[in-house]
């Protein structure tokens, strides 16, 4: 089947198998910043924003995302023009192997859109769908706090 997807602000017409997940469609069309981890909705490496809500793209059939707004971590910012969340993560050392980072960035963005000044407990709850095997989460939480601070000041 063919569907029109709006990914990171641009429209794409993509042919895909009706059984495909959004994760498969994104990765097979160059959006490899969306990582494939567990493929069963546990690790959060494949998190994207679907019409503004964070979802695991491995748990979403691509056929149900047709015509919707999809934002990946690259849609928030890239190496040349990083988003304050991405900058904060890099600065505090919240990135080690980096595999989980795009998912954490998306979940952090979703949190800070809804709650610009989260407590540590609120941060932990908001990131409950993202797993990191390297950092132990301390630096990630620090990164979220720094990003929140900067986004408040910069009104991103």
């Amino acid at each position: 089947m063919t569907g029109k997807f709006r990914i990171n602000g641009r429209e794409y017409s993509i042919e895909f198998d009706p059984r495909d997940t959004l994760l498969t469609v994104l990765r097979e069309n160059g959006f490899t910043e969306v990582k494939e981890g567990c493929s069963e909705g546990t690790c959060g490496a494949c998190a994207v924003l679907l019409d503004g809500k964070v979802v695991n793209s491995c748990m979403v059939f691509a056929a149900t995302a047709i015509g919707k707004e999809i934002i990946t971590s690259r849609g928030l910012g890239d190496q040349n023009n990083p988003h304050p969340i991405q900058e904060a993560f890099a600065e505090v050392g919240a990135v080690q192997c980096g595999f989980c980072t795009p998912g954490f960035v998306i979940s952090t963005f979703y949190l800070l859109q809804r709650n610009p000044d989260p407590t540590e407990d609120e941060i932990k709850k908001a990131l409950d769908g993202n797993l990191c095997r390297c950092t132990g989460y301390v630096k990630i939480i620090e990164g979220v706090k720094l990003a929140a601070e900067r986004m408040k000041n910069e009104k991103v």
């Binding site: 089947m1 198998d17 009706p18 059984r19 997940t21 493929s39 909705g41 546990t42 959060g44 998190a47 809500k53 964070v54 979802v55 695991n56 491995c58 748990m59 979403v60 059939f61 056929a63 149900t64 979940s107 979703y110 709850k125 908001a126 990131l127 409950d128 769908g129």
Partner: protein, 276 residues
């Protein structure tokens, strides 16, 4: 491989008509559909765009459309009643991204025992409105008992009377994100220092969904000082059984469950004390 199709009905009537097709099932959030076993289906009916994602309260009766997500329910109920039972239970379910996808209708259709929805719904005496072959309004427990009710049928919504009293929810799991081994729901109302209404549900035992009448009858009409809690727990010892669970052996799980049931009772005593 046989062709697999998506259907995008424009009305509930059209969706109900599509249920006649063999091997075609409704799709709400899609989290209950096992991707590796998709070949068992010939197609999926997208329920999006049918306006079933509503939540409303009219005259104290809450109605939740089938495609409202756990996140939607937490937001709505949180704004209306703060710490009500569905806010407590659904906030424990899965994770933030999954709560944005898991639908109420899907959970009721699949009825997994690890779901954090079923205990509260049974305690709330919720009813499920079904369209299609088995059209009608059924108590949620009947749907749990009789799974054939959902065959060629579409869950439209569920309804329950808003509960304003004491609420308690406990979920036994190894970690926050783990599947729950069992959960307990307690709703209670107090009147002049005695229990006027108690609803106690255990989910995950061998009976799957169990209203604990021993506890309910042992509390209703009594003041905390008149309740023999160890006696009640003792009575329960022979009426609840578990299989081995993720948290441990059947016997261990039962011990944990009895302790947690006792804690729920004492929490209700404390709440009643606070009300005074």
């Amino acid at each position: 491989m046989e062709e697999f199709r998506w259907y995008y009905p424009n009305s509930i009537e059209e969706a109900v008509g599509l249920l006649e097709l063999q091997g075609v099932v409704p799709h709400g959030g899609g989290t209950g559909i096992i991707r590796g076993k998709l070949d068992r289906y010939k197609g999926l009916i997208s329920l999006e765009g049918l306006g079933l994602d509503y939540i409303k309260e009219v005259d104290g009766v809450v109605e939740i459309g089938a495609t409202a997500t756990y996140h939607d329910v937490i937001e709505f109920c949180g704004a209306v009643c703060g710490e009500c039972i569905l806010v407590k239970s659904l906030s424990r379910a899965a994770s933030t991204p999954l709560r944005n996808r898991i639908t109420i209708g899907g959970s009721v259709a699949y009825f997994p025992i690890w779901s954090d929805l079923m205990g509260p719904l049974i305690a709330l005496d919720a009813t499920v409105s079904i369209l299609g072959k088995n059209e009608g309004e059924y108590p949620v427990q009947e749907l749990a008992r009789n799974r054939s009710l959902k065959s060629h049928s579409l869950i439209k919504s569920l309804k329950f009377k808003r509960f304003n009293g004491f609420t308690y929810y406990y979920r036994a799991a190894r970690t926050h994100f783990d599947y729950g081994s069992f959960n307990i729901t307690m709703l209670a109302s107090f009147d002049d220092g005695v229990f006027s209404d108690v609803r106690f549900v255990l989910v995950g035992s061998k009976a799957k969904f169990q209203r604990l009448a021993e506890i309910e009858n042992g509390l209703i009409g009594r003041a905390p000082s008149d309740v023999d809690v160890p006696g009640l727990i003792g009575e329960l010892y022979n009426s609840i059984e578990f299989h081995n669970t993720r948290i441990g052996s059947a016997e261990y799980t039962k011990s944990v469950a009895l302790v947690e049931i006792e804690r729920a009772i004492y929490a209700s005593f404390k709440a009643m004390e606070g009300e005074k």
